[in-house]
């Protein structure tokens, strides 16, 4: 499998996934807003996710699950605490270094797809590869699109695609750099049940095939329970500390 980086924190082969956790969060606190409007969103969160594990993040609206996801993707900086992803501590990285790290190690899938409307499916998928300086971006993007079943739609613009197809393009785009971690924020939230199911199947199939770590934020209990483990958030805290045995179960 291609490895897009030379950094020591490169993705770890699945055989060694117990050796170091893929995501390690320790004593994390995060507030948003300023002054009187400041809200304490995440409170003293500690969480370890093993390499290759699939995690379902659930909780009521406003419980902080999306924010936690953003922290894992390096999109939100905590007030305190440590985030280590794939062996790299986020605390040491500045904004641009975080962006580059994300481009190589973290794939993100959004609820509302967020494709670039002025680019075709192929171009959208090429973007992270081009940004990382991949020499063969277009061919590789085409292959990724084929994997999500869109080889007939390479040159369509997002508005010419259905919601399900758009989300497939988004998944192909997230997977193109072969990230060690895939985070998805309610990936089926904007889709009907049948289409949503197809997307879920696609995500889990790719997860299994690539051995990557996957974190899903969802309201859908069925989807959450397809994951190796469910982490429930309430008012910014993890509801029940995960029993140690689940670690071994999933290992």
């Amino acid at each position: 499998m291609d490895n897009l980086t030379a950094s020591p924190a490169s993705s770890v082969p699945s055989a060694t996934r117990d050796a170091t956790p893929s995501i390690s969060i320790t004593n994390l606190d995060l507030s948003l807003g300023t002054g009187a409007a400041r809200v304490h969103i995440l409170k003293n969160i500690s969480l370890r996710i093993a390499t290759g594990e699939a995690i379902g993040l659930v909780g009521a609206s406003g419980s902080g699950k999306s924010t936690l996801l953003m922290v894992m993707a390096g999109l939100e900086r905590p007030d305190s605490g440590e985030v280590v992803v794939n062996g790299t501590s986020f605390n040491a990285l500045d904004e641009d270094a975080l962006a580059r790290f994300r481009g190589r190690h973290v794939g993100i899938v959004f609820q509302s797809f967020h494709l670039i409307p002025t680019m075709t499916a192929l171009e959208n998928v090429s973007v992270p590869l081009e940004l990382a300086g991949h020499p063969d971006a277009a061919a590789r993007a085409a292959r990724e699109l084929e994997l999500v079943g869109l080889n007939e739609r390479l040159h369509h613009y997002p508005r010419q695609l259905s919601g399900g197809e758009q989300q497939r393009v988004a998944i192909a785009r997230a997977l193109a750099p072969d990230p060690a971690i895939l985070v998805a924020d309610e990936p089926t939230g904007n889709l009907d049940e049948t289409t949503g199911q197809q997307i879920v199947d696609l995500l889990f199939a790719q997860h299994a095939a690539r051995g990557m770590t996957m974190v899903l934020v969802t309201h859908d209990a069925a989807l959450a329970h397809k994951c190796d483990r469910v982490v429930r958030l309430r008012s910014g805290q993890i509801e029940t500390p995960e029993p140690e045995r689940r670690w071994t179960e999933t290992a």
């Binding site: 291609d2 490895n3 897009l4 980086t5 030379a6 490169s10 999306s66 924010t67 996801l69 953003m70 993707a73 999109l75 939100e76 904004e95 641009d96 962006a99 580059r100 790290f101 994300r102 481009g103 190589r104 993100i108 959004f110 509302s112 967020h114 494709l115 670039i116 409307p117 002025t118 680019m119 171009e123 973007v127 992270p128 081009e130 940004l131 990382a132 300086g133 991949h134 020499p135 785009r173 750099p177 924020d185």
Partner: protein, 856 residues
């Protein structure tokens, strides 16, 4: 493989912004039309002005020899060349002699008209062609026939006096038969713009008129055509140097191709600069449009920017993508502007070629076009950088949750430094390329002040709206809150409307003042007539005659000589370094007078006036501003050449002169003993309490009958001639300003459109809550009206101050505030603001709530 990727070819990466920028623009330029139009308009104005001026300069230099009438032209005022002088000239090349003077022509029915008479010899014209209707050889034209001299006249004169070819007229004591009409003279421009129509006669005929009196205002011009092997700039220069060395005291004004018409060139340069500044104002206004367009583009692209970031693009990379895009759009706009601007001289010649009194040689002027292109790109960059800098702080979190509060953060330091550098570069280019750097610097400073004031005005307006007590009426409350809410249109509307209005008011005030000056009422107590070439022996008799003809009128009469300043404070005139404003004093001969008393309209501001019976060495009084411009002070010596004699005098005092009184004013006034014995004529003015065309005609006739050698100049007619020229200038100013206005309206429209989405949202929500369309419309109209009035007041103030400065300082004319113009501008501005605003809002009001609510 993994190692190779990190060190992947940088070239591919550096082209990425360009590739992405093109991808974004592939879907069309929608949303950028205002951007492109703004840049195109400004660049067009600057490129057009530069191209026309360049074509004019090319025409002048190309035809310089023809305009001059030879390789070198030497002119003398009030005297002919002496035989030895003429012999010297003839020894060096072919010489053609011409003489010009003003004279009265009398038709058989007794009607009189002022003309510019020009006497030529058979060698005329040595270069270029004289166009006559009917055409005939010059020798034949000038021959005497049937006891009358021949004359060719300007068709204007024929029309004015109701004459036709073959009719007879009198000038002075000679009779002429009009043989032909002059349709074009190759050397006309060199003599400047004439006040009166041309009459072309022979030298012999001129002498026969008996108008050549000692001291008559006649100009003798000797054109020398050097042998063909020597007809170069170097040859001309060598000849001029030899002439100066051999005949140092001749006192002639010597011109060669390189300075065929310095006055005209200076006028063109100055005017070009003024129009360039107007063009820059258009770009400045357009820059606001660029900033607005870039800002709303970035706002619309927030999701895409965030998506780029989520895919691993550092902020600098995304910034590069959108910067590339902005520069591409600026290049498109600039190229459109360049194309139109470059075509302008061709269009002008195509449409008005025959009518133009100027030799325009249409061509592409690379330098001017490149400059306009640079202006376009720099403006886009200067105004685009601020909104572009926000890209850096677009949060990726926006993709997960709607960011409600828009953080109004100042761009980060590197962007601010970059912006400062671009603005400094733009200012440096504007000032470095300006003809008059001081004016350019003032323009730049004024622009910065206006910008700052408009920002402050917008901030003040919002602060006031925020602090006002909450009105009870929902609509008024809505209008007020729309002015100050976050993301309100107030700053961009105030900026574009304020800039546009300030420019418009400036232009209309200047326009109105120029018209008032030259076309409407004459200044109070301005004379109706000038009489020139009054023989000094007849001066007293002429005075008495005038007083008898017009008993209630004021008559002023002064002696008048013409002379050139040869040197001052011991420095030769050509080595003096005058300021731009004072250059003209040295460029040609000046009217000189002598008097025992301080002249009317003058005030001594430094030094003492000489005693009435002063009899010491000659003294001179200098006009204060010009003395300053030449670096002269009391006690300095000034040498003038009058009638081939050098006369030196000491500056004893400085005067301020009210030039606008149109009275007889002189730069140099000498003590009475300075010109003792020099032949000269008098000049007189007549200022009657009331005037009428009939009365004017009667006086002209009476003077012509009693004093045939005296020439009458009607001030009103002379001003009308100037007025026609001024009208053309005003037209050019208006043309350039129209572009600024168009840019302002575009920017305003763009700014109002930017708030459209917000309006639709408001309108739909309020409609679901039961607001009628009429009430919403009222609230919006109220909002636009409040912003419009506040901005209009500012625009009128700023524009009036700018116009006052330009009219009084730059044009040194009197300024009267044109209330009517200002009111019209304000009314138009309010109509446009409310109209444009409501036009956009109307479509928002007609949206069905359900369709909008569904997509919210």
């Amino acid at each position: 493989m993994s190692l190779a990727v990190e060190s992947s070819p940088r070239t591919a990466i550096s082209l990425l912004p360009l590739r992405y920028a093109i991808r974004e623009l592939r879907s069309g330029l929608r949303g950028f039309y205002v951007f492109i139009a703004c840049i195109a308009l400004g660049v067009m104005a600057i490129a057009g002005v530069g191209s026309v001026a360049g074509s004019l300069a090319a025409g002048l230099s190309e035809q310089g020899r023809t305009l001059l009438g030879g390789d070198v032209s030497l002119s003398l005022i009030q005297r002919e060349a002496k035989p030895d002088e003429l012999a010297f000239l003839r020894a060096h090349g072919t010489v053609s002699v011409a003489a010009t003077m003003r004279a009265m022509v009398r038709a058989p029915d007794g009607q009189l008209a002022l003309t510019e008479m020009k006497a030529v010899d058979a060698a005329y014209p040595m270069l270029g062609a004289l166009a006559l209707e009917p055409s005939m050889p010059v020798a034949q034209l000038l021959a005497e026939r049937n006891g009358a001299f021949s004359a060719a006249v300007d068709p204007v004169l024929l029309a004015r006096l109701g004459l036709k070819i073959g009719d007879r007229v009198n000038i002075g004591e000679a009779a002429f038969e009009i043989r032909s009409a002059v349709t074009s003279e190759p050397d006309k421009l060199a003599g400047g713009i004439g006040f009166a129509p041309r009459v072309l006669v022979s030298e012999e005929a001129l002498r026969a008129t008996h108008l050549l009196q000692p001291g008559s205002l006649v100009r003798w011009i000797y054109r020398v055509r050097l042998p063909d092997n020597n007809a170069t700039d170097a040859g001309a220069k060598a000849f001029i140097d030899a002439t100066r060395a051999t005949l140092p005291n001749a006192g002639w004004e010597i011109r060669s191709q390189s300075n065929a018409s310095p006055q005209l060139e200076r006028t063109i340069k100055r005017f070009t600069q003024f129009l360039t500044l107007v063009g820059l104002a258009a770009l400045l206004v357009g820059g606001v449009g660029v900033a607005n367009a870039v800002k709303s583009h970035i706002d619309r692209r927030r999701d895409v920017i965030a998506a780029f970031k989520s895919l691993g693009a550092p902020a600098s990379r995304i910034f590069a993508i959108y910067l590339t895009q902005v520069m591409m759009l600026a290049a498109i706009g600039s190229l459109i502007g360049l194309a139109v601007g470059a075509a302008l001289p061709f269009v002008i010649v195509g449409l008005f070629g025959k009518l133009l009194p100027l030799p325009v040689e249409p061509a592409l002027h690379g330098g001017e076009l490149a400059m306009a292109f640079v202006y376009g790109l720099l403006t886009a960059l200067a105004f685009g950088l601020w909104p572009l800098a926000r890209i850096h702080d677009v949060p990726v979190a926006a993709l997960f949750r709607d960011t409600v509060s828009e953080e109004r953060r100042r761009p980060r330091l590197p962007y601010l430094i970059g912006m400062a550098a671009v603005i400094a570069l733009l200012i440096a280019v504007v000032i470095a390329l300006a003809y008059d750097k001081r004016i350019a610097a003032i323009f730049v400073a004024a622009s910065i002040v206006v910008f700052a004031l408009l920002r402050a005005l917008a901030a003040g307006l919002m602060a006031v709206a925020r602090r006002l007590p909450r009105p009870r009426g929902t609509m008024l409350r809505l209008a007020l809150s729309n002015i100050h809410r976050p993301g309100a249109l107030t700053p961009s509307v105030v900026l574009s409307l304020g800039l546009g209005l300030a420019v418009l008011v400036t232009i209309t005030q200047i326009d109105g003042n120029l018209r008032r000056q030259f076309m409407a009422a004459l200044p109070d107590h301005a004379p109706s007539f000038y009489f020139i070439d009054i023989p000094s022996t007849d001066a007293e008799r002429f005075d008495a005659f005038l007083k008898q003809q017009a008993p209630n009128a004021t008559v002023e009469d002064v002696p008048m000589l013409r002379g050139r300043i040869v040197s001052a404070r011991g420095v030769k005139a050509e080595d003096l370094k005058p300021t731009h404003d004072a250059e003209w004093v040295l460029q040609s001969d000046r009217g000189l007078t002598y008097t025992a008393e301080v002249p009317r309209g003058s005030k001594v501001v430094e030094g003492e006036w000489w005693a009435p019976d002063y009899s010491g060495p000659p003294l001179v009084s200098f006009e204060k501003k010009l003395a300053d411009g030449l670096g002269l002070k009391i006690g300095d010596e000034v040498v003038v050449n009058v009638l081939g004699r050098n006369i030196s005098a000491t500056i004893s005092n400085l005067r301020s002169v009210d030039w606008q009184s149109l009275g007889i004013n002189f730069v140099l006034v000498f003590s009475p003993n300075a010109f003792r014995g020099a032949p000269h004529t008098h000049i007189a003015t007549l200022t009657p309490p009331t005037t009428s065309a009939d009365e004017d005609a009667r006086i002209v006739k009476a003077v012509a009958n009693a004093f045939p050698m005296v020439t009458s100049v009607r001030v009103r007619e002379a001003l009308q001639t100037i007025g026609t020229v001024v009208t053309n200038l005003v037209l050019a100013i208006r043309g350039a300003s129209a572009i600024t206005l168009l840019a302002a309206i575009l920017v305003l429209g763009g700014a109002l459109a930017a708030g459209h989405r917000h309006r639709v949202y408001d309108a739909v929500i309020l409609k679901t809550l039961g607001a009628t369309r009429a009430r919403l419309l009222g609230a919006y109209a109220l909002e636009y009206l409040m912003i419009g009035i506040a901005t209009a007041v500012f625009g009128v103030l700023a524009g009036s101050v700018a116009a006052w400065l330009i009219v009084t300082r730059l044009m040194t004319l009197g300024f009267v505030w044109q209330a009517g113009n200002a009111a019209a501008v304000v009314a138009a501005a309010l109509a446009v603001t409310v109209g444009l605003g409501l036009a956009g809002t109307l479509s928002a009001l007609n949206r069905k709530p359900a369709s909008v609510l569904r997509s919210l």
